[in-house]
Amino acid sequence: MSALPPLLSVEGLTKSYGGVHAVRGVSFELAAGEILALIGPNGAGKSTCFDMLNGQNTPDAGRILLRGEDTTGRPPRAIWRLGVGRTFQITATFPTMTVRENVQVALVSHGRRVFNFFTATQNFAREQAGRLLDLVGMGGYADRPCGELAYGDLKRLELAIALANEPKLLLMDEPTAGMAPRERVELMRLTARIAREQSIGVLFTEHDMDVVFEHADRILVLNRGTLIAQGSPAEVRANREVQAIYLGEGLVYDARHREGAGA
């Protein structure tokens, strides 16, 4: 009969706050292993969209299907259980634990061992935690207190935590915000590599157009709550509407900036 349903399928997502339509009828699909960027000017509805996808917000209308299963309105922890990992715009980690313990907590939850009262966590899934940390290049920091990490390292730790449940889908809210330019490129290359190797679908929002055009397979452009364009980076770059509403000055600035940096 029909083929496997798409990894993520969003149908007519709508949300308004009071009289403000934050998101109106947004629909798109995301395939396994695909890296999809959600862009748009401030206030376009990216965060609202994101919060509905990860369960922190309930849509007024529309459906979110994960491999054909309706996840609309479920709490974040239930969505995580279905194989969705996520990172936050401002990193959320456990500052009083070591780096390894941060990953171990996620593994404990993934292994459904939260209500285990007696065994020592120290040795719980230690190798697996080590592998995840090695994957994001944090293996050498495993015993460091998480509260001491630099911001870029925290972002990589978050990625390791998000990968703990062997996700099929990664939701990354402004993954490179607050990072130095070189760190941005490294983090996104790492993410892209992991996504291709493990066939994980990635949806991310981003303000840095360099990052978006370099790493995204496809781009969604949101403006005032509606999807005004979607397609490959080349298509989106060529789209007049996008240029007019959103990219215009940004591209000019970015191009100049890059020339300057390259010289």
Binding site: R77, T98, N116, F117, P145
Partner: protein, 632 residues
């Protein structure tokens, strides 16, 4: 009908003082985030100073001048306290300021007895408001009418102060985001000091204005502080208008509760508060609090299980403790039993606070429930002691399961206040349900059986159970459950995002903690041979808090040390001096200023530093001081 109207007006008059004190507490909390436990003490001082001044100066001017002068004098004292004490601890771990202000309260309680004597003092009537007004056959004191007008008048003045002055704008801004206000170049130090002064002035004025209505005594601070907490929480922390509405509500509930529900009049207010908190978690007029920024530079060293050398040291210490009956007499051994029991109680709360990040202000409820559980089983069912000790704590477990379910829906100060309300409800039931609990007379004759009745045997029993409880809770801290609980404390957002059902984890921790507290209560019933409503009272809950904070809330086992030090000191001081509260309060304040991380936290810091090489003893405080300054 006229009677009810008169009753209503009396309620309104009581609301005036309550509102003054509550608005002061609310303003102080809004800006400095300090839950000022000493607010009741300032209220009491206001009353005492006003009493002296109005006795000394005669005439109408002497009276009214005395009232205002008293409030000003106490406000000056408040400024002194803020500069000398609170400024040093704004960046200490949360709730540490509560400990400091609690220490202050203890000191003030002894000081007023020292200065004004222990008996009630009857103040002068207010000149111009000495008579009563006839109100359809009901006589109303005219002073009450004055107070009814005063309440809204003060509300109006405060509103003008906050809306129309530059200072008011700064205070409102700081209430929303004090870091941003500091970043904008406002001198935060003096803003905090002035806010504290205004808050204390209002509290003292509230106390001073009470002298024509009520006798002044040295217990009025605790009575008002509980009412004021309730008012502030119902109204919403930081909302002046909310404090006014809630003060009226609480006063009317008190006025009419006695008429309509005499049986449950005491708990009516707490029932209302519990309902308000469950329906509107931030109070009637409060706003959801923005999550606090983490204090910069406050990195906590991740907790470690004990090394084998440390385990050996603990075993040796335990053996040494077990040898107490060999060295000490019966008195020392009985004191030892009491300390062991309080260690169990303290670690149960420490588990909830340090690991779960949930500060219960009413933990004595579960201690007391365990004690009553034993008393019921022993006296009514006639069960043997072992059965009682095993089953009695289940009452604490049950109470924790029911109350904890609602409490963990909230967090921070609101969680604390809801647990306080539940504890008060349990206390009132024990106090008023005389047929079952014996009321104030308690349940007597709960003695241990022969095998445990000698002081040394009972001591070993208590010590053994304390060691088991401590070991069990420590295992729990490092178990997957303990990590999930800490995860919830560190970042609820991330915990939820990795699939942890945080509320269920916290609720489970609450039940475990309540059960362990119940075990302590069960032993305590046998130690004392009796159970009283005091076993679930607020003072006992506060004792537990002090023990935990004293030991150090960022440590794994600080509760043990805190309990031993506090309880031993307490018992020793009571036997040595009549001014035990003064000394104990002074000690607590000293500890807070010198060791803001608690006893165990400080020891750990010193040990880490020694590991790093530096070993200068005084660098401790200097480091702390410099950190606080950079944070400012």
């Amino acid at each position: 009908m006229a009677f009810y109207v008169a009753q209503f007006l009396t309620g309104l008059a009581s609301a005036a003082s309550l509102f003054l004190v509550a608005s002061g507490l609310s303003i102080i909390f809004g800006v400095t985030r300090i839950v000022n436990f000493a607010h009741g003490a300032f209220y009491m001082l206001g009353a005492y100073v006003a009493f002296t001044l109005t006795e000394y100066f005669s005439g109408a001017f002497g009276f009214w001048g005395g009232i205002v002068a008293a409030a000003l004098a106490v406000a000056t004292l408040g400024v002194l306290v803020e500069i000398v004490l609170l400024r040093r601890i704004y960046h200490a771990p949360e709730l540490f300021q509560l400990l400091a202000t609690f220490g202050l309260t203890l000191m003030v309680e002894d000081l007023v007895v020292l200065i004004w004597g222990p008996s009630d003092l009857l103040g002068r009537r207010a000149p111009g408001f000495k008579g009563a007004v006839d109100f359809f056959g009901q006589s109303l004191p005219s002073y009450d009418l004055f107070l009814i007008v005063l309440g809204p008048a003060v509300l109006g003045i405060l509103w003008l102060l906050f809306q129309r002055t530059r200072w008011g704008v700064l205070v409102r801004a700081a209430t929303q985001d004090r870091d941003m206000v500091a970043a904008l170049g406002v001198n935060q130090k003096w803003l905090f000091t002035s806010v504290f002064a205004v808050g204390v002035f209002l509290a003292a004025l509230g106390g001073a204005l009470q002298i024509p209505r009520d006798a002044v005594n040295h217990a009025m601070d605790l009575r008002i502080i509980v009412d004021v907490f309730v008012v502030v929480v119902i109204g919403g922390l930081g909302s002046i208008f909310g404090a006014f509405v809630a003060a009226v509500l609480v006063s009317e509930l008190n006025a009419f509760g006695i008429l309509i529900f005499p049986k449950i009049s005491i708990i009516l207010v707490f029932l209302v508060m519990a309902v308000v908190l469950i329906v509107r978690p931030w109070g009637l007029f409060g706003k959801r609090e923005a999550p606090a920024r983490r204090t910069p530079g406050l990195t906590v060293n991740p907790w470690r299980p004990l090394t084998s050398a440390e385990r050996l040291a603990v075993c040796i210490a335990l053996l040494a403790a077990a040898a107490l009956p060999v060295i000490g007499g019966n008195y020392a051994v009985t004191v030892g039993s009491e300390i062991a029991i309080f260690v169990i109680f303290a670690i149960s709360l420490h588990f909830l606070m340090a690991v779960g990040g949930l500060a219960s202000f009413g933990h004595a409820a579960y201690f007391g429930l365990g004690a009553y559980g034993v008393a019921f089983l022993a006296k009514m069912a006639g069960l043997p002691m072992i059965a009682c000790l095993l089953l009695g704590p289940l009452l604490g477990c049950l109470g924790a399961a029911v109350f904890g379910f609602f409490a963990v829906q909230l967090s921070g100060v609101y969680f604390a206040m809801l647990t306080l309300a539940f504890a008060q409800i349990v206390w009132s039931v024990a106090f008023q349900w005389v047929e079952v609990t014996g009321g104030d007379n308690g349940i007597l004759g709960v003695w241990p059986e022969r095998w445990a009745s000698s002081p040394s045997h009972f001591y070993w029993l208590s010590l053994g159970i304390a060691a088991l409880a401590a070991a069990g809770l420590r295992i729990l801290v490092f178990s997957p459950f303990g990590f999930a609980l800490r995860a919830m404390r560190d970042s609820p957002l991330r915990s939820e995002a990795v699939g942890i059902n945080g509320k269920r984890v916290q609720w489970t921790a609450f039940v475990i903690s309540g059960t362990v507290a119940g075990v302590a209560g069960a032993l305590f019933a046998y130690l004392k041979g009796s159970v009283f409503p005091d076993n679930l009272g607020i003072p006992l809950s506060v004792d537990a808090l002090v023990m935990v904070l004293l030991g150090g809330v960022e440590t794994v086992s600080g509760g043990i040390v805190g309990a031993i030090v506090y309880k031993a000191l307490n018992i020793w001081l009571v036997s040595q001096t009549d001014l035990s509260k003064l000394v104990l309060g002074g000690f607590i304040v000293l500890i807070v200023v010198a060791f803001p991380k608690g006893i165990v936290g400080t020891l750990e810091m010193i040990r880490h530093r020694h590991g790093g090489g530096s070993s200068e003893a005084s660098s401790e405080t200097r480091l702390m001081g410099s950190r606080i300054e950079t944070a400012e």
